[in-house]
């Protein structure tokens, strides 16, 4: 299983760690998908989870937390090779429908 399980710290604690060990090898920062991303991105279902491509990694929710695939699974890599992860644009969609409404009048 090529997952990395990661320990989570709140932002303030992370900042503290980084300040005290700015160049220490072995420290990796991972950013999980924020709410605005989850709400606007179409996931890909894999291994029974909805996986989101964010920050050049695939992430998925496991219970109440998030996990990240350290290495991109083949299925997800191939999916991404054939199809760009989709987003939903609420205002753009609104503008498009508005334009279609005007056009059809």
């Amino acid at each position: 299983m090529n997952r990395r399980l990661v320990t989570t710290l709140a932002g303030a604690v992370v900042a503290s760690c980084l300040a005290s060990t700015p160049a220490r090898a072995g420290i990796e920062i991972q950013i999980f998908p924020p709410a605005w991303y989850i709400a606007t991105a179409r996931p890909v279902y894999y291994e029974g989870h909805a996986a989101y491509w964010y920050g050049s990694r695939w992430h998925y929710r496991d219970g109440r937390g998030w996990r990240t695939y350290n290495e991109e699974p083949r299925y997800l890599r191939e999916y991404r090779a054939h199809r760009e992860p989709e987003r939903h644009y609420y205002e753009r969609e609104h503008d498009r429908r508005h334009w279609e409404h005007d056009r059809d009048r």
Binding site: T8, L9, A10, G11, E28, I31
Partner: protein, 287 residues
């Protein structure tokens, strides 16, 4: 500094544990993109269904397979239909605000009446949508149900950030005032005056809204919907009216406050923007 919801993973950690649960923090991400910005703008202006609206919106990006898509779109249409009365009231509110902005004075009595009507209509949405939610649960797989629950929680996080947590009159990038500055080209002097006026006008507004009620509704839905069996009736919390009232009130006070501080040209532009929001008509778009 890089902000957001982080993990620090020591590559040599011996017994790493799963990420403990906390929702991603939408407010601190440094890289909000266009889709995220548009979502926030949407949530600043559309409050007609509360949590039910979050559910309907979550279907926009659930990622169901093609075979299920027609059924999901039908159920999404049904949810929109169940919110139609509230949406019409919201339209009336937005057009009232737009007319007032264009004229230079907002009719606050008419606005308050529209908000009260919107609140009642949004409150009634939950009861009307029970059968649809049960059908939706029956169609979705366990992983799709869990993903829907995640998305509803994500919409709530974003909604709360822009309609409750955001500092009144705040000038942060991507905030309501920053958006207005872009839309109507506010001068620095106008920004300063509007920011101060909003801080005064919206002071104490947060105290009138208890996010815990909405939080309880969202959590109750998410937990129940991700489980099996599911019966929509078991979710007894109903914060739809609270969400509609809070969001619409904050939106109205914002526009009532900024209107006298704008030039006629700026008011014309802003009124046109609000009319566009008022004429918003959701359509099934399950992807």
């Amino acid at each position: 500094m890089v902000a957001g919801f982080f993990t620090v993973a020591a590559a040599y950690a011996q017994a790493p544990s799963p990420t403990p649960g906390a929702a991603p923090n939408p407010s601190a991400s440094p890289a909000e993109d266009q889709a995220g910005s548009e979502l926030k703008e949407h949530h600043r202006h559309h409050h007609h269904g509360g949590v039910t609206k979050f559910i309907a919106m979550s279907l926009d990006t659930l990622g169901v397979d093609d075979a299920k898509r027609p059924q999901i779109e039908k159920l999404q249409s049904d949810l929109h239909a169940q919110m139609a009365a509230a949406r019409e009231t919201e339209k009336s509110l937005l057009l009232t605000l737009a007319d007032g902005i264009a004229a230079g004075t907002v009719d606050t009595a008419k606005v308050d009446a529209a908000i009260a009507k919107l609140t009642a209509a949004a409150d009634a949405v939950q009861g009307a949508s029970l059968d649809t939610l049960n059908k939706l649960h029956a169609i979705l797989s366990p992983s799709e149900r869990a993903a829907l629950a995640d998305k509803v929680e994500a919409h709530w996080e974003v909604w709360r950030q822009v309609n409750h947590d955001a500092e009144p009159g705040g000038r942060e990038h991507g905030g309501r005032l920053a958006r207005l500055t872009e839309e109507v080209s506010l001068t620095p002097d106008q920004v300063t005056k509007i920011s101060a006026a909003l801080q005064t006008a919206l002071a104490g507004g947060s105290a009138k809204f208890d996010p815990q009620k909405a939080e309880a509704h969202v959590k109750a839905f998410a937990t129940a919907f991700a489980g099996d069996p599911y019966d929509a009736k078991v979710v007894s919390s109903n914060a739809n009216g609270n969400l509609a009232s809070r969001g619409a009130t904050r939106m109205a006070v914002f526009y009532e406050t900024v209107t006298p501080l704008l030039t006629p040209d700026q008011r014309t532009k802003l009124a046109a923007e609000l009319r566009e929001h008022g004429n918003y008509k959701p359509a099934p778009s399950a992807k």
